[in-house]
Amino acid sequence: MNPFTLHRPSAIDLISAMLASSSDPKFLAGGMTLLPSMKLGLITPSDLIDLTSLPAFGEISNEGRRLSVGAGATHAAVANERRIRELCPALGRLAGKIGDRHVRNRGTIGGSLANNDPAADYPAAILALDATIHTDRREIGSSDFFRGIFETALDEHELITSIEFEAPERAAYAKFPHPASGYALAGVFVCRGDSYVRVAVTGVGSDGAFRLQELEGKLEAQFEASVVDTIDLSALEFFEDRHGSRAYRENLVRVMARQAIAEIAAVDGA
């Protein structure tokens, strides 16, 4: 790995001076994407600012049904946290399916969102939950945050501090994992509240995760898995690669959507 200087700030307001004194700094959260890229020499930052030493950076709290998840919350923490289990269990189950137990112990929700891998799981949840992303400078709505593959609305060295959302009445996430990497070949997150349904898809879009508005409208009228058969996906930009053709991925989106809808409907029926 290239030589660099490691900084371990004990407070957020110490970070700007560290950034100013470095030629090419990068934030380090769980390191589960950053360190492998550095080991391969794909990026060679001069300085790493380790966020894991910031106090309360991974804190999870709630006010009523409004949940706030610190950017430094690990996937394991999101999977196991009592408040998330009670208020938004689908998000916990999503986190519990990321990577493997060692990756979940280190990887963070903030790092995953900042990275915006087109096959990552969290982007589907953040879009469907209509979450707000808080940074050290502003708030960004989920619909403005994702800007294409590995691209977000974050400015250079803008720090995600937390993610906030209103827990939906019901939610479910269905993912078809790539058999080798475990990332989503297709993942569909469905949220249902009093007067709305939101559906978001990861793994298939050539611009990254997206909302599936046609399905949302139809599900608002009739919340049934069979509705999935009536939607038209042909106008959406899918990517194709050796892991799956467009037709295969389209079918996966339908199968995952039906699974997520059926899971919610089953809870209703119980």
């Binding site: 790995m1 290239n2 030589p3 660099f4 200087t5 490691l6 371990r8 380090l28 390191g31 589960m32 360190l35 492998p36 080991k39 790493l48 380790d50 894991t52 394991a76 990577g99 493997d100 137990r101 060692h102 990756v103 112990n105 280190r106 475990g182």
Partner: protein, 163 residues
Amino acid sequence: MTRIEAVVNGKKVTKTVDDNRLLVTFLREDLGLTGTHVGCDTTQCGACVVNIDGDTVKSCTSLAAGANGCSITTIEGVAHGERLHRVQEAFHRHHALQCGYCTPGLIITAIDIIEKAQGPLDEATVRQELKGNLCRCTGYQNIVSAILDAAEKYAMSSVSKVA
């Protein structure tokens, strides 16, 4: 350079390391604890898994400097003197290894799976939890049997979950 103070396998260690030193290199080369292996270097295989403050971590994708103030357990730290850890015994009994390359990471992982299990472990859960540890030799069957056997023995022991 960062000065680190950590407890490794119960012993206090103080060293100054380059900021870009990986934890696995620190353990193997600076401390001579070569039981922790590097299998893939791409964060896939789990041969490098160690336990840091109660959680399993891939040490090939952790910085040594990040271990400052932590307590680390490697495969060298699980036996009690001459007496093997009961998970090691179970691996021995079930012949759960061939070349043994993956075994240190698997044992550290298996201990953690058993200690964190909420209730009795079943085969499906063990297989799922082993996702981050690859074995090229065994086909996993004997590894899974060994873990289930060790888990049962833990459950039977009312004294302590350790060793």
